[in-house]
């Protein structure tokens, strides 16, 4: 059974990873962050996360097929 989730990367996180979307196996956000760390690098520690469009506080379990957005610090205005 697959545990793949879709990861959408934005701005500095996309620039660092060299892509805007990845599909990775992960069962928790902490698990996923571990997988992303090598490609996304230092900015990952400054990112917030949306799981299926909702802000995730701390670690949360991930369902198979979930979409996780990786959001660098906002800089509008």
């Amino acid at each position: 059974m697959t545990t793949d989730v879709t990861v959408r990367l934005f701005a500095a996180a996309a620039a660092a990873a060299g892509t805007t979307e990845l599909v990775l196996p992960a069962t928790s956000l902490l698990d996923l962050r571990g997988s992303l760390a090598p490609s996304v690098g230092a900015v990952l520690d400054r990112c917030s996360f949306l799981v299926d469009g909702l802000v995730a506080h701390g670690d949360v379990p991930l369902r198979a097929g979930a979409t996780v957005d990786v959001l660098p610090p906002f800089a509008g205005g």
Binding site: F10, A11, A12, A13, A15, A42, V43, R46, L50, G53, D69, L71, P72, P73, F74, A75, G76, G77
Partner: protein
């Protein structure tokens, strides 16, 4: 009248201000691309928005519009490639009396800065670039 807008079109502060005209005090904030940041010379920049940005901006606008004193407001954020002098953000708040207009406009601008899922990549005169706040 409540307007919120995330757009790659050029922003028109006068039109947004006019949309809030029927009131005593109207305070308008216009944020333009600066030619420098942290002592470095900025050549151009690019704003990119998360898909939820229009919804978030609408929520910010609705919360401000729900304040008792607020009669009308407009808030708009540009996306895409901008050059120095281009308008990036416009926020307009109309109230009967001036103190409330200043206070609510300033607060709405702070909210946009902190809550709107928007990113800014600056390109400097030396050709280097950075995502603001991310390094």
């Amino acid at each position: 009248m409540v307007t919120s807008l995330v757009t790659s079109d050029v922003l028109d502060p006068a039109a947004l201000e006019s949309s809030c005209a029927a009131a005593g005090a109207v305070v308008t904030f216009v944020g333009r691309v600066r030619d420098h940041d942290g002592g470095r010379s900025v050549q151009s920049l690019e704003y990119s928005a998360h898909p939820s940005a229009p919804d978030v901006l609408q929520q910010i606008a609705a919360a401000c519009a729900a304040e008792e004193e607020v009669l009308a407001l407009a808030v708009a954020h540009r996306t895409g490639s901008l050059v120095v002098g281009d308008v990036a953000l416009v926020a307009v708040v109309a109230t009967a009396h001036r103190a409330a207009a200043f206070a609510h406009c300033a607060r709405m601008v702070e909210q946009v800065k902190h809550e709107l899922p928007m990113w800014k990549r600056q390109v400097f005169a030396d050709g280097s670039d950075e995502w603001v706040g991310s390094c």
